[in-house]
């Protein structure tokens, strides 16, 4: 069966979050560091897509992506997977309880997602006897939260392009 351009475009935008997810993990670039700024794009990607279009990003893939990140970055297996699943969990909860889609709602509900995920991250690294720069973790959380609307805009554009 021949794919029309429209169908191809639809499929491409449908697969884009998944491609991004695995690109980020394999490339080891879940955290973007630019001078003083430090943003966890992995969390934002998972949170946005589980909240808006969970059919495009399976929990199994999120788990797998976390495992890949753990191996690439040299952490014990399961740590990134668990914190990403925490983000997905909060997003799934928020999706069930909210009706209206607004940036402000998403942004505010992203705070507990970040807190849960970082707490799990910290606790599991502590359990595995890994030292961690807590100030860096705090800085990363703050900038991830501040940067959320920017990626929210980009991802919403992708969703709209898929729809059109």
């Amino acid at each position: 069966m021949k794919l029309s351009f429209k169908q191809f475009r639809y499929k491409f935008f449908e697969l884009l979050p998944l491609l991004l997810l695995f690109f980020i993990s394999l490339n080891g670039s879940s955290i973007i560091n630019v001078k003083f700024f430090s943003i966890n794009i992995h969390y934002i990607l998972v949170y946005y897509w589980i909240l808006r279009k969970p059919e495009n990003l399976g929990y199994g893939f999120i788990f797998l992506s976390g495992i890949i990140s753990d191996v690439v970055l040299g952490f014990p297996l399961g740590i990134n997977a668990l914190s990403l699943l925490m983000v997905a969990g909060v997003a799934a909860y928020v999706r069930v309880v909210t009706v209206r889609i607004t940036l402000v709602n998403d942004w505010i509900s992203f705070i507990p997602a970040l807190l849960f995920a970082n707490f799990v991250y910290f606790a599991s690294l502590y359990y595995s006897n890994y030292s961690l720069d807590y100030l860096y973790l705090l800085k990363n959380s703050i900038f991830t939260l501040i940067f959320y609307p920017v990626l929210w805009g980009v991802f919403t554009l992708i969703v709209n392009l898929q729809k059109s």
Binding site: L26, L77, G78, I79, A92
Partner: protein, 280 residues
């Protein structure tokens, strides 16, 4: 309207336990699986280690392919930068060459004197033939963990704890060995603690990483005599590393004894692994 406890329970069940739209696994099941994996990581069991090594080797290969475009881009950028800075680099090299020429005769004499003194105290001089070379396969510096992956592992008798050198300069140690790959923990990492000796002041200390390019010397004696410019070498205390491998030079900054590493950790392509002490 007040939300009852039942409503919250229904929402949590719906979000965590049900598979949801086109989801094959429930969040709850995957969360439990992740916790089991974290727990399993703390268990040192042969068959578990074999599976772990196999999984890690596959992922490293995949990641090495996936990072190829970004690696090529950064090498191209580096090449362009080198071309632009060609003239200033040339001038710097001329000055450096002059200094090195002046130091060669002095260094030859010291080397001879050193080996004679070592023979006098019956200490075995480390053989350079104990080195094995490897290529850096994956260099993704996590902000939390400064490490990289090299392309040899158990297949070349690499073992945990072995010293990793950039040329003849100490840069880190092996912390994780798979069949065809190993992970090197760099001296700049927060988890890195290396026993070192400063020269000529002769103070023993622990070189501690902080996640930045400037590790510091800790556990120095109160009346230490370390000065700016002192050289830092591995002391060999604890019997893990060969003594006398160069690490860097001291820079005292606001009472903190920092070490400027001789090797630029962001520009390493090939490394040597010292098989010496551990393979005996």
């Amino acid at each position: 309207m007040e939300t009852s406890r039942e409503d919250v329970g229904i929402v949590i069940r719906s979000a965590f336990l049900k598979r949801g739209t086109q989801q094959r696994f429930s969040l709850f099941a995957l969360t439990i699986l992740s916790i089991i994996l974290i727990f399993l990581e703390t268990i040192d069991f042969k068959s578990l280690n074999t599976i772990r090594s196999f999984v890690k080797d596959i992922i490293y290969r995949g990641a090495s392919i996936a990072t190829y475009p970004s690696k090529s881009f950064s090498s191209f950028y580096q090449l362009m930068e080198n071309h632009i800075n060609l003239y200033s680099n040339y001038k710097e090299l001329i000055t450096e060459n002059e200094e090195l020429k002046n130091n060669i005769s002095k260094s030859d004499f010291l080397e001879l004197e050193n080996s004679q003194l070592r023979q006098l105290i019956d200490e075995q001089v480390a053989s350079p033939s104990n080195l094995v070379s490897a290529r850096v396969m994956l260099d993704k510096q996590s902000p939390y963990l400064n490490s990289f992956v090299i392309n040899i592992g158990g297949n070349k008798n690499i073992k945990n704890g072995m010293a990793v050198l950039d040329g003849k300069i100490f840069i880190g140690r092996i912390v994780d060995v798979n069949f065809f790959s190993s992970r090197v923990l760099l001296v700049s990492d927060l988890n890195s603690k290396i026993p070192v000796l400063s020269q000529p002041s002769g103070n023993h200390a622990i070189l501690s990483g902080h996640g930045t390019s400037e590790p510091t010397l800790e556990y120095l004696s109160e009346n230490h005599t370390i000065q700016d410019g002192d050289k830092v070498y591995t002391s060999g205390k604890g019997g893990i590393f060969t003594p006398g491998i160069a690490v860097g030079k001291v820079k005292i900054d606001k009472k903190k004894v920092k070490v400027l590493l001789f090797s630029d950790l962001s520009q390493i392509t090939f490394v040597n692994i010292n098989l010496g002490e551990l393979n005996k």
